[in-house]
């Protein structure tokens, strides 16, 4: 990298931030920017369900109260948005996808998350299992705000945050990979922040 922006010095990272926690091209923010492609949906909790369908013997469905009755975990993780911000030590509460898939027999290798409003995102099944993903319904000890994906969003913190679908309602297990919403508009199919996989071809 020989190019230098004349006169640019940069602000650098805050001294209390461990640089090994910040993926390439990211900066640390303390607020929580909101990014979404359309209006914020508002689904009443008594009409809310979460479903797992596709390559399963029988589709599974949970009401809000049934989801709340499952064992929940507190998760403290760093999150990384493709728009360059990273937020450290965010605290969530939610149900592990492992819990939802307990006892499910499938040959699927991929999954599509679908949200209220029609948003979709695709992930390898192995990226939402093994303690790597949750259906999160609390943020910072409070019910998850609708702007941030409440009542519940997918939380997959090891990938860029567009994979953590807001307002998630369904996981569809698939044999084949199917690009989701942003993935169809040129964003990277996998989205690993540590390899800076922002856009197709990165």
């Amino acid at each position: 990298m020989s190019f230098v922006s004349r006169g640019f010095h940069g602000r650098r990272r805050p001294e209390d931030v461990d640089p090994s926690r910040i993926p390439p091209g990211q900066y640390v923010t303390t607020d929580f920017p909101v990014l979404s492609a359309g209006p914020t949906p508002h689904t009443a909790l008594d009409r809310w369900t979460f479903e797992i369908d596709g390559e399963v013997d029988e589709p599974l469905s949970w009401s809000w109260s049934e989801l709340q009755a499952l064992p929940a975990e507190t998760i403290t993780v760093d999150i990384h948005c493709v728009t360059k911000w990273s937020k450290l030590d965010t605290s969530w509460r939610g149900v592990s996808i492992d819990t939802l898939l307990d006892g499910v027999d499938t040959t699927a290798e991929h999954v599509t998350a679908t949200s209220d409003g029609g948003y979709t995102t695709n992930l390898p099944l192995e990226d939402v299992t093994g303690g790597k993903a949750w259906i999160a319904f609390e943020y910072g000890g409070e019910p998850l705000d609708p702007e941030h994906g409440g009542p519940a969003r997918l939380l997959v913190p090891h990938l860029y945050f567009w994979k953590s679908a807001k307002w998630v309602r369904r996981l569809t297990l698939r044999l084949d990979d199917e690009p989701g919403f942003w993935e169809s508009y040129g964003y990277h199919n996998y989205g690993d922040p540590w390899r800076e996989q922002r856009y197709a071809g990165d």
């Binding site: 922006s5 006169g7 923010t29 492609a37 359309g38 914020t40 949906p41 702007e147 071809g201």
Partner: protein
């Protein structure tokens, strides 16, 4: 919902600043000569990367302000008080300097004449930038698609492209100023609310294509009002920037 896929790899390229225009006290337009630019659609953005002499880099995204038909790629950047990249772009960068960027990025928040209309635009602050690209494209393509724009700014001095917006043929531009206004101000004088939206926006029966860009509170208010007024959420596209985001 799938759109035109952008599958070409986005390579970092160097552009040369050919013109700088101070649009307001805080916003500057940067026109770039880009030898390898493959074109864009109105509403798309680019990633800009700055590199310090010790190798430190910072990246941010900026909406494209120019039409595909324009001679140069133009970015309009608003200087954020606590920003890292925007003060450099809107302050230090000079004509003849080079700027590294890649794009175009995003294929959802776009409008071109083929998309039809009518079109309803809501701009909050520098959220007007992608709409300038759309309106310049509409003019260059001699489109007659009817467009309405509601532009919310804190004060008149913060309004970007004021003269240019007024000069577009058959584009109905309304302003609301939320913090200060001249004594003789004949536009709206408040934050956007459902009543204001109901007065200025296309009725839902016209089934407009709706684009909303601005800070998140503005976007939430405009989108919520449009949904309440009976517009189909699937026809409402939003683009938001955070309260500070550190840009």
């Amino acid at each position: 919902m799938a759109g035109t896929a952008v599958r070409r790899r986005l390579i970092w390229q160097l552009g040369t600043v050919v013109e700088l225009v101070d649009e307001t006290a805080d916003a500057r337009s940067i026109a770039l000569e880009l030898p390898d630019w493959a074109g864009h659609r109105p509403g798309q953005h680019v990633d800009v990367r700055l590199t310090a002499d010790d190798g430190y880099q910072a990246q941010r995204s900026y909406s494209i302000a120019s039409a595909p038909e324009d001679d140069h790629l133009v970015l309009t950047v608003e200087r954020l008080p606590d920003g890292e990249v925007s003060p450099y772009l809107a302050g230090d960068l000079g004509v003849g300097d080079q700027l590294e960027l890649r794009g175009p990025i995003g294929g959802y928040f776009v409008w071109d004449t083929g998309a039809g209309g009518p079109v309803q635009l809501f701009a909050g602050g520098s959220g007007v930038v992608p709409f300038r690209a759309m309106l310049r494209h509409r003019a260059a393509a001699k489109s007659t698609v009817p467009v309405r724009l509601l532009y919310s700014a804190k004060r008149l001095g913060d309004v970007i492209y004021r003269d240019e917006l007024a000069a577009f043929d058959e584009v109905d531009v309304r302003f609301t100023l939320t913090r200060e206004w001249p004594d003789d101000w004949d536009g709206y004088r408040r934050r956007l609310d459902p009543e204001l939206v109901g007065e200025v926006a296309w009725p839902s029966a016209e089934r407009p294509l709706v684009y909303i860009c601005g800070p998140t509170g503005f976007v939430e208010a405009a989108a919520e009002a449009m949904v309440q007024l009976g517009h189909d959420p699937a026809r409402i596209k939003t683009e938001r920037f955070g309260p500070s985001g550190g840009g």
